[in-house]
């Protein structure tokens, strides 16, 4: 590098150079402030400014591009799992829920709903996952879950046509909490329909009788107390997406 090459320049040229440079500089500052303000006044899609939402959706596409069934979350021995599992939300867990009359509704097609009891689900091969559960708030906890892989479940109940679709939607009995997951994440080997925590039936506040548990999404997608599962090529509605969060929310 030839740093320290001196050059001579007339006062006039120097002045002109300075004025031009600073004019551009100040114009850029004003332009940046303008863009920042504009971003905040922009029309929103699901409570995120349009521009941000588009990039978030593009991020989701990129992320799902390198999502792989071979990328597994690290698992731990059962002894590593915490005893007091954090309960972080109760939306969709309304009081007037009768567990004895609960049945899982799997909407295969419009007007064709498969009804299953908890025992039907427990009859399928059990998968246990002990992993570092991650909340979108930023905390994590090694927790121990048991249930049936959704992929096993789909195979057993011949949901081939349904799992060809782009998304699965899940809803609580009161329909107040609802999530949508892309099908590859739903069929991931670490995504289970979960009925056990620490080797015991799910506690009420953890979504008894059945919840979703997946290692490859933030906890916001792990809907508690599943009543309905349906399939769609369009994105099913999603509680936190509607509140400004990323739809994909994958890890």
């Amino acid at each position: 590098m030839n740093y320290k090459e001196e050059i001579s320049i007339s006062e006039k040229a120097l002045k002109r150079n300075t004025i031009i440079s600073f004019t551009i500089f100040i114009a850029l500052i004003i332009g940046t402030i303008f863009l920042w303000k504009k971003l905040h006044q922009e029309a929103q899609i699901a409570q995120a400014p349009k521009t941000l939402r588009k990039v978030l959706d593009a991020n989701g596409k990129i992320s799902s591009g390198f999502l792989s069934d071979n990328h597994l979350a690290k698992t731990y021995p059962a002894s590593a799992a915490v005893k007091s599992v954090r309960v972080n939300g109760n939306v969709g867990m309304g009081n007037n829920f009768d567990p004895s009359s609960w049945m899982l509704q799997v909407v295969r097609n419009a007007g064709d709903t498969l009804l299953l009891t908890l025992d039907d689900i427990k009859a399928l091969p059990k998968t246990e996952i002990i992993f570092d559960f991650k909340c979108i708030e930023g905390w994590s906890q090694v927790t121990h879950w048991g249930g049936v892989k959704f992929s096993d479940f789909a195979a057993k109940y011949n949901l081939n046509a349904q799992t060809q679709m782009n998304y699965a939607g899940l809803e609580t009995p009161d329909k107040k909490y609802y999530v949508g997951l892309d099908m590859p994440s739903m069929l991931h080997p670490q995504t289970i329909l979960c009925y056990e925590m620490n080797g015991k039936p799910l506690p009420m506040n953890q979504g008894y009788p059945l919840r979703l548990m997946t290692t490859i999404k933030y906890g916001i997608k792990d809907l508690k107390r599943i009543q309905t599962i349906f399939f769609s090529n369009e994105r099913p509605r999603d509680y936190w997406y509607e509140r400004g969060y990323d739809y994909f929310s994958g890890l």
């Binding site: 090459e5 001196e6 708030e137």
Partner: protein, 287 residues
């Protein structure tokens, strides 16, 4: 006529000034995210010296309950941060500018002398090119920190897809802590940087906008004093005194390349007689 040095290439000025608002947004949105699980503090035993961050701080900046907004900003502006940083590093490599930034063998020792000089404890500063030794170390470290933020950020953004990276960084929670610490270091760098820019004065700041470092009129006197106070400099090839003499001959060539919009002035300079060049007096004295 004024003597100037083309200090900062146009590209570097762009990278620098794009980076400033982008990092500001990254830090701001990072705080919106961090608030949702603000577990870090400095202390010993049960005693907390400093909590990150005090409630009054959150309140004053209206940070609480803006996690979604923070995440959406963070995961959009991360692209600008990464792309700008990536092209910047490529530019450093291919332009050769990296040679002016990365520290050399003597930099550690010299940076101490620079600091002592800045604190007015030592009278002279060691000879330097574009950046002094302390700057070289600081600017190199901050580039590495940028890479660190990118990697720790990536491993908490997609900890399962990048599980190898994540476990190399000590796992999810460590990576998050590292990401946070790097951000604190960035803000400390920023504070020192601003103070130094203010102390260095207008000419230095202007050079980051215009690219030109205007040499003082009394350059002869200044360099002469420097030479006398540290005669060893005179014998070194990198001494500013001798270097100017060596490179004067190449001025004609570089002027044509450099001042494309200023052909008139360039020609004027070419026609300049050696007597008008004030560095000549200087080299005479030194001889």
């Amino acid at each position: 006529m004024k003597k100037v040095i083309r200090k900062h290439p146009l590209a570097i000025r762009w990278f620098h000034w794009i980076n400033f608002p982008v990092i500001a947004v990254m830090i701001w949105s990072g705080m919106l995210i961090y608030w949702a699980n603000d577990i870090y503090k400095i202390g010993f035993g049960n005693k907390t010296v400093l909590k990150f961050f005090p409630d009054s701080f959150y309140k004053a900046l209206h940070i609480p309950f803006r996690l979604a907004e923070g995440m959406s900003l963070h995961f959009v502006f991360m692209w600008l941060f990464a792309i700008n940083g990536f092209i910047y590093v490529l530019f450093l490599i291919f332009s050769g500018e990296w040679k002016l930034i990365i520290p050399g063998k003597k930099s550690l020792k010299e940076s101490l002398q620079v600091i002592l000089h800045d604190l007015h404890i030592r009278k002279t500063a060691p000879p330097q090119k574009k950046y002094n030794a302390a700057q070289r170390i600081a600017y190199t470290v901050v580039i590495v920190m940028g890479l660190g933020s990118l990697l720790t950020g990536l491993s908490i953004y997609k900890p399962v897809q990048f599980h190898t990276l994540c476990s190399l960084l000590g796992g999810y929670e460590w990576a998050r802590a590292e990401h946070f610490i790097l951000t604190i270091l960035f803000t400390l760098f920023f504070v020192v940087h601003i103070v130094q820019v203010i102390l260095a004065g207008w000419n230095n700041f202007r050079s980051m906008v215009t690219g030109l470092d205007v040499l003082p009129k009394e350059i002869n006197v200044v360099l002469q004093t420097a030479a006398i106070s540290n005669p060893a400099n005179l014998h070194k090839a990198e001494s500013p005194v001798i270097k100017m003499d060596n490179e004067k001959k190449t001025n004609d060539v570089t002027l044509k390349e450099d001042i494309k919009d200023d052909d008139k002035e360039a020609n004027e300079i070419n026609k300049m007689s050696p007597g008008e060049d004030n560095t000549n007096n200087l080299t005479d004295i030194n001889k």
